[in-house]
Amino acid sequence: MSTATRRRPRYTLKESALGLALLVPSIVVFVAFFYRPFLNLLHWGRYESRRNGAYFEYVGLDQYREQLTGEDFREGLWHSIQFVLYTVPPGIVLGVLLAVAAHRRLKGIKVFQAIFSSTLASSVAVTSVLFFYFFNDTVGLFKVDWLENPDMAMFAVSLSSIWQNLGLSFVIVLAGLQTVPDEVLEAATLDGYGATRRLLRITLPLISPVLLFLLVVLVIFGLQAFAQVDLLTKGGPVSATETLVYKINRLNRPDNIGIGAVYSVGLFVITLAVTTLQFSLLERRVHYAR
């Protein structure tokens, strides 16, 4: 990184006006669909609903304090963390392995690349129905009771997500691999590196920016996962798969809308914190080619 101080470029009034004009559409969209709803959320978080939402009473920031330290929120947070831990590391490892396997010049390799990336094209709903059938304990493929077993349900839901995200991981890692120059890998081969050493010492460091991106995206996906939980377990059995997002959905009723708003803000803050942490901790270890 250059340490030289960057001089702020000077723009003429005309240039500034043009720049602003070009930004207006995105500003409008963000204000309408993100910033204003978010401010609404902060606002609703300070009200408690009475008589099934017939009227709302101002309770202030106490509601934030109470709810964010409450048993239910902590349980949801723990389930979300569990889900992230179950889905992200295997997702990245499998994505790397598949991409490495498919990154070679062979006749027909495009067919395999298309197959491996195909889960990208299937919706969460389709994936969930598929796994719902796989897990069914009488007609299913695996014939297991995981979805009804509180100890296994989170793992089962995670499996479907790993499968769902595999296409994305594969495509992103494959794109990363294609930026690694052949000659660098050949140089490593002549230096005596075996395939594993080459992967760990050369390839992975060179695609580390891609891996960081994948990590951040998968963690966010994990924290926001909803449909697979809703379709496979409805948060059950006995709330064993109630992630934060699922709880927010459950609370999103007139009688609980204030609490739902508090949870949403909580999830936003957690997601932001985790993402910032990932960048600040890992960015130093990532090699960006210049």
Binding site: P181, E183, V184, E186, A187, A188, T189, L190, D191, G192, Y193, G194, R197, I202, P205, L206, S208, H287, A289, R290
Partner: protein, 365 residues
């Protein structure tokens, strides 16, 4: 250190023959340059030595060992790539150290088993290589913070540090500017003289080839055209391809036929070189080759040159024109006393005339 031997080696990519029945012996300690235009198979030949390409037919030997099926990591050769192929995420120190990490060496003398080097031994060798190539102050930098010439030297250091059987170099100077290239040429020759290890050097630049090589192997369309010292291939090119590939500007060629008093061409009669006299029947069609510096502008010359352009380069002068209907160049020191549009007489000595067969393009004399 070791010799390298191609025995009837062929490489096919699907239907394309990249290297066709190559027979070439590179002796131990030799600086061999593989020279040819792009697509001639020289890089493929080099990559077969490294083991980066499989051999379709024939045998390749390093020393006395057939290495067709030996893993590239086990061949004990190092390579300098055109792009240098440095590891961008490692410091210069770690780049140079890289070949020492995995390989085993007889560091305790020839009677002891080979082992991996320890940290101190690796550091010592890296420092030595860095010292030789003037990289000591750069060891902690990463390749992105180096100039092209510095990167190139890191690539050389990485190749030399492991003391392999042979160094393979694939156009290592082509990414340098002209001045640095000339300087690095000298440094490479110097380095080779010091380490006395076999070098196989691939280039399309005939200047690099004739200035650096012990011997040059000239290739075209997958086939070996001629092997010899730079003087041999310059003074007695084996065929028209070699004749025109070596030398700048290239050798002038003009078609003619053997007559009573010499070789009759469209621009005049060329004297018959000593080796050819009496060997061929009169009337035989020939291609005459004369190097630009062997043509002299003189009123008593045997040939007519229709002058088209004169280029003065300071230390020499190039006169472009046509002899008969063939393009020709005359090269002389100092300024030429002719102008575009003139017809000048040019002379050539019989000993400087090359004669080729128009059918086979092979050398006759």
């Amino acid at each position: 250190m070791a010799s390298l031997t191609f025995e009837n080696v062929t490489k096919r990519f699907d239907d394309v023959v990249a290297v066709d029945s190559l027979d070439l012996g590179i002796t131990d300690g030799e600086f061999m340059v593989l020279l040819g235009p792009s697509g001639c198979g020289k890089t493929t030949a080099l990559r077969m030595i490294a083991g980066l390409e499989d051999i379709t037919e024939g045998r390749l030997l390093i020393g006395d060992t057939v290495v067709n099926d030996v893993d590239p990591a086990k061949r004990d050769v190092s390579m300098v790539f055109q792009s240098y192929a440095l590891y961008p995420h490692m410091t210069v120190q770690r780049n140079i150290e890289s070949p020492l990490l995995v390989r085993k060496y007889r560091a305790d003398g020839p009677d002891h088993p080979a082992r991996k080097l320890n940290r101190a031994e690796r550091d010592e060798r890296v420092t030595e290589a860095a010292r030789v190539l003037g990289l000591v102050d750069l060891l902690r930098r990463k390749p992105a913070a180096l100039s092209g010439g510095q990167r190139q030297r890191v690539a050389l250091a990485r190749a030399f540090v492991g003391r392999p059987q042979a160094f393979l170099m694939d156009e290592p100077l082509s990414n340098l500017d002209a001045k640095l290239r000339a300087q690095t040429r000298l440094e490479l020759v110097d380095l080779h003289r010091r380490v006395e290890t076999t070098v196989v050097y691939v280039t399309h630049d005939q200047v690099e080839a004739i200035t650096m090589a012990d011997r040059v192997a000239i290739m075209s369309a997958g086939r070996l055209q001629q092997v010899g010292t730079p003087q041999e291939v310059y003074e007695a090119p084996a065929n028209l391809f070699v004749a025109q590939f070596i030398g700048t500007p290239p050798m002038n060629t003009v078609e003619g036929a053997l007559g009573d008093g010499g070789i009759e061409t469209g621009g005049g009669v060329v004297p018959v070189p000593p080796g050819l006299a009496g060997r061929l029947e009169v009337g035989r069609k020939l291609v005459v080759g004369i190097r630009p510096e062997h043509l002299a502008l003189t009123p008593g010359g045997q040939l007519d040159l229709a002058v088209r352009a004169v280029e003065w380069l300071g230390h020499e002068c190039l006169v472009f024109g046509t002899i008969g209907d063939a393009d020709a160049v005359v090269r002389q020191t100092g300024m030429a006393d002719v102008r575009p549009g003139d017809t000048a007489r040019v002379a050539v000595e019989a000993t400087d005339v090359h004669v080729f067969d128009p059918e086979t393009t092979g050398r006759l004399a």
